[in-house]
């Protein structure tokens, strides 16, 4: 069923790291920004400053996670469309590799890279930011996995329908990034005007942010059943639609 999955996944990771900006752009750059900002702010951020800690404690880790996940999605969209345009998908398809194997391999590559950059961010964060370390790491990882898979499925739907590789990245960005201001990352949902609250409730990212923030703060999963259900529904719908409209060439 998934013959060749591990080999293909490992191969794709190696190929990705050979890209001129592959490793640097995806994994090291966010950490670098994090460290530089950490050094600049370092003196001013003390656990005592109440205004800062709310954002630093919960907002920043979730923001970092969401941004890393979004960039993974965009890179997935781009890679799939480049592979399609270059006839690579078609060539792979004329082998015993099943379609789901090829696509799963790409998702696994993106997940692996996301995990790698987040682990580095956490390590860097421990050094520069006064964040409490008693965070439910496993729970947060699960929440992040669910959120990322859900956002990746949106990416796949975009990858299924973008006409050419040149448009893949901009179209993906145009769909995903406008969700950021309304998803509760910067401004709590309750303080948005009612109309925007309605918009926010229609955005998958809102549920991801709510879940991530909640779990990071140590809230129980039972309080976030709704978020999980929404993310799973998005995943199921986008995956089903992609399977219908995906073009191999």
């Amino acid at each position: 069923m998934f013959r060749g999955l591990w080999k293909l996944t490992w191969l794709e990771i190696k190929i990705f790291l050979r890209e001129p900006l592959g490793a640097f752009g995806t994994i090291l750059f966010p950490v670098l920004v994090f460290v530089v900002v950490g050094r600049l702010l370092g003196g001013r951020l003390t656990p005592g400053s109440i205004a800062a800690t709310g954002f630093i404690r919960v907002g920043l880790p979730v923001l970092a996670s969401v941004l890393v996940a979004l960039s993974a999605v965009l890179s997935l969209v781009t890679i799939i469309s480049i592979y399609r345009e270059g006839g690579i998908l078609k060539r792979l398809r004329a082998t015993p590799l099943r379609p789901q194997t090829i696509l799963t391999a790409h998702v696994l590559v993106k997940l692996a890279l996301t995990v790698a950059s987040l682990v580095l961010l956490v390590l860097a964060g421990k050094r520069y930011y006064p964040v409490n370390v008693d965070v439910p790491v496993f729970g947060f990882a699960m929440a992040l996995l669910i959120s990322t898979l859900s956002i990746l499925s949106i990416g796949f739907l975009i990858a299924s329908i973008v006409p050419t590789a040149r448009f893949a990245q901009p179209i993906g960005a145009a769909i995903l990034y406008p969700m950021l201001p309304f998803c509760g990352l910067f401004v709590p949902l309750q303080s948005l005007p009612p109309a925007l609250q309605t918009v926010a409730r229609m955005l998958p990212l809102t549920y991801a942010v709510s879940l991530l923030q909640g779990i990071w703060k140590g809230e129980a999963w039972s309080a976030h059943i709704g978020d999980v259900a929404a993310l799973v529904a998005v995943f199921a719908i986008c995956t089903a639609l992609s399977a219908k409209v995906f073009r191999w060439e």
């Binding site: 013959r3 060749g4 080999k7 293909l8 191969l11 794709e12 190696k14 190929i15 050979r18 890209e19 592979y83 270059g86 006839g87 690579i88 078609k90 060539r91 398809r93 004329a94 082998t95 015993p96 590799l97 099943r98």
Partner: protein, 310 residues
Amino acid sequence: MGVFGTSGQVIQVSGIRKTYGSTVAVSDVSFEVSEGEIFGLIGPNGAGKTTTMECVEGVRRPDQGAVSILGLDPYRDMYQLQNSIGVQLQEAQLQKRIKVWEALDLWASLYPKTVDGDRLLEQLGLAGKRNAWFMTLSGGQKQRLFIALALINDPEVVFLDELTTGLDPQSRRAIWELVRDIRDRGKTVLMTTHLMEEAERLCDRVAIIEHGKIIDIGSPAELVRRHCPTRTVILATGNELAEERLRAMPSLETLTRQDSQFTIQGRGDEFVTEVIHCLAENRIRVTDFRTLLPNLEDVFLKLTGHSIRD
């Protein structure tokens, strides 16, 4: 009967049709390929060769008609069939930065039975490029890698689509040699080409396709005999009696003379022999003697009214 069903044919295509929107790419195409044969689909670009090929390979599903390879339906039984076929797609690419050995290794991991990848690279003259990225290979090297990938599972049937397009004559000849080797190892080859010379040198039989239809099928020599029976002899002689004697030949059709050079045409395989007889009987000494044999290019021109390059 064995694995090939009752007919003894490795590939059977009957009445397939494929349309894209309102464009009919292929209509009512039928042919059969026997074991150990190199069969060529020939025709100009856009004639429907690749569509036909992809329907046979199972990459596409024909709207109508049936295809059988080794007794299986390539679309329905794709995964079962893939172990016994090797495919080289037209204008395919691999990941830019995949290494030659990595591609072979990945492909090899997908099949239950494989041949030795390093030996294959050696045979294809790619051993020195084992660690090279795909993007750094020349056109000929890429094609040879694709041949290697098509052969890694030791297939019974190999599909080669526009194998030598864009290659220089030297690489082209090297690849022809490889394809003959494939056949000599008992494999069946279905290939497409728009190069008549390639078809003539490689194919045991060809199907001429134009506008999505097969116009005729046969060995290159058969097709030439059938459609272009005229033979041309060019000879040079100072003998004043030559013109009169040559004109007396019953099979002669036309004769044109330019000083001492004669261009004469007649029908049938025997024509050249008759000319030689005539020269010998009349003791006509010649300083030049050439025969121009019609080729597939001429057959195509005759059948379609235009050259394949138009």
